[in-house]
């Protein structure tokens, strides 16, 4: 019994310590002024993290928009309210699905790659050798990746929403025959730029911070063996997915909670 309690206590201490390390890590990486060299490194990471994730995000967005329209239509048509299809598709995408699904895909596609890449750099002593050359890997390796993640995910979320709404239009208007004017008209009447689009973007920015932070920290903090890298990659996906879904509930409650 006593050993169990001791073990629980040690777990707790480890957790607090890890959180502290992660916080210090984030602070040390982000503080400092950007340089010309930094912008170049950032651009490179934007390419790897953002541009290369575009395909999976856009294809998923298209399908989710199409499915939403299909499902929504079959429900709404029973109430004779299929004119509200545009409103339903756009609101569910902008407020919920685009930020959340894009963040989950981002964690799987870019987050795991970030963890594995940094982990491999650690395992092959590249990070140590950078330190010994007198270059801070937090600034050189970690910071550009963090910033690239922070910028990429909100942009990807926008792409997800736009193509999802277009996919909904494709199915709802072109295929199921909802009147085009009411698809867009109802959408425009019910979507507010600040409340819906702005809050959705805010969510995705928060998710971007959390997912990139988890991914990069897991890579930096892992045990430098092949098993350690595979475990850390898994942890990145699991932790960021849980964090995204949990935070989504909290943010939704804060943003849309008292509107009902």
């Amino acid at each position: 019994m006593i050993t169990r309690i001791t073990r629980l206590g040690r777990r707790g201490c480890d957790l607090v310590e890890a959180l502290g390390r992660a916080g210090m890590f984030l602070g040390q990486s982000l503080v400092g002024r950007p340089s010309g060299e930094g912008v170049k490194l950032w651009l490179r990471q934007m390419h790897f993290i953002g541009v290369l994730s575009l395909a999976i995000i856009l294809v998923s967005g298209l399908f989710i928009g199409m499915v939403l329209a299909l499902q929504g239509y079959t429900i709404l048509v029973d109430f004779g309210a299929e004119d509200a299809l545009g409103q339903m598709v756009s609101l569910s995408l902008l407020r919920e699905l685009a930020p959340v699904v894009a963040a989950l895909l981002f964690a799987g596609r870019a987050g795991s790659a970030l963890t594995a890449e940094i982990g491999l750099m650690k395992a092959t002593e590249q990070l140590s050798s950078m330190e010994m050359i007198g270059v801070d890997p937090l600034k050189r390796v970690v910071a550009p990746r963090l910033w690239a993640g922070f910028v990429s995910l909100p942009l990807l979320t926008v792409g997800f929403s736009v193509i999802g709404i277009w996919g909904g239009h494709l199915v709802g208007v072109e295929w199921l025959g909802v009147y085009e004017g009411s698809y867009w008209g109802n959408m425009q009447a019910s979507v507010d730029f600040v409340d819906d689009i702005g809050n959705g973007m805010l969510k995705s920015l928060v998710f971007a911070l959390v997912v990139t932070w988890i991914a990069v920290f897991q890579g930096y903090d892992l045990v430098p063996t092949s098993e350690g890298i595979s475990r850390a990659t898994t942890r990145t996906v699991v932790y960021s997915s849980l964090a995204v879904l949990g935070l989504d509930f909290v943010l939704t409650a804060l943003m849309f909670g008292e509107m009902g």
């Binding site: 140590s128 050798s129 950078m130 330190e131 010994m132 007198g134 270059v135």
Partner: protein
């Protein structure tokens, strides 16, 4: 040249988890000489280098480099201090996304404002010294282990450091590249007047280039002296290590219960 030692290690203690790796290590590393740190695998030689380079912080004791306590520096000053050091890692640790040329140019680009033409000259000079000027366009993945280590040496020398660390430079090399490396380390040291610390367990090669040797085991300095004096040392542990005998005071077996008892116990438990 200044006669005071470049690196002084005093009462260094370090543990990882519950395992104590160093229990009070004292060392002085003289300027302009090659000092070897030897010991069996797992005795924490690489850890010692990381402690001296300031990458790890000891539990107690201190490391003075040219009179400055490396663990008492701010992060910024630490990085300035490190510009005067070079380190050759066991795996070479070349940046895998940069070509050989860019790898060697890296320290120059981040620490100097030299024009491109000058950087090119310096890089080619360093690559020529390790005999790999022709390989400058290759990526690290295309190099053999020995070549990667030579490129890493060129990179470590790019900023003309005062102090250079070699972490297991001879491990896993074929006899030819081993010979090349041994020669290279000696030559570089004589030509540039560097202070070098070589960590290794390859006795023959290390003794052939070292001016002074420390042998560590069980978290302590077991013996130190010139290669000649250690070779004739009477301490059984030292002589076992120096002559590569399989069993002796340094046991072949990892600490365990009595073999017979262990075998019988397994049957009882089941």
């Amino acid at each position: 040249m200044d006669d005071s030692p470049l690196v002084v290690v005093e009462g260094l203690r370090f543990s990882r988890g519950d395992r104590e790796i160093f229990r009070g290590v004292d060392m002085t590393i003289p300027r302009g000489k090659i000092t070897a740190i030897m010991g069996p695998s797992g005795s924490g030689k690489t850890t010692l280098l990381k402690l001296i380079g300031g990458q790890l912080t000891p539990d107690a004791g201190r490391v003075m480099i040219d009179g400055e306590d490396i663990h008492a520096q701010s992060r910024k000053k630490l990085f300035t201090l490190r510009r005067r050091m070079g380190m050759l890692f066991q795996s070479g640790a070349l940046f895998s996304d940069l070509s050989v040329f860019e790898n060697v140019a890296f320290p120059l680009r981040v620490h100097t404002d030299l024009p491109e033409a000058m950087i090119r000259d310096v890089v080619l000079m360093k690559l020529e010294a390790v005999g790999l000027r022709g390989a400058r366009e290759l990526m690290p993945a295309e190099l053999s282990g020995g070549m990667a280590r030579r490129v890493a040496l060129a990179r470590a020398l790019a900023l003309d450091p005062e102090l250079i660390f070699y972490d297991e430079p001879f491990v896993g090399q074929d006899p030819i590249s081993m010979g090349v490396l041994v020669q290279l380390i000696r030559r570089v040291n004589d030509a540039l007047g560097l202070t070098a610390v070589v960590v290794s367990h390859d006795i023959k090669e290390t003794l052939s280039i070292a001016d002074y040797v420390y042998v560590i085991a069980d978290g302590k300095v077991m013996a130190h002296g010139t290669p000649e004096s250690l070779n004739v040392d009477q301490d059984p542990r030292v002589s076992q290590f120096m002559h590569g005998e399989p069993d002796g005071p340094v046991p072949f077996h990892y600490p365990a219960d009595d073999f017979h008892k262990d075998m019988l116990n397994a049957g009882v438990k089941r």
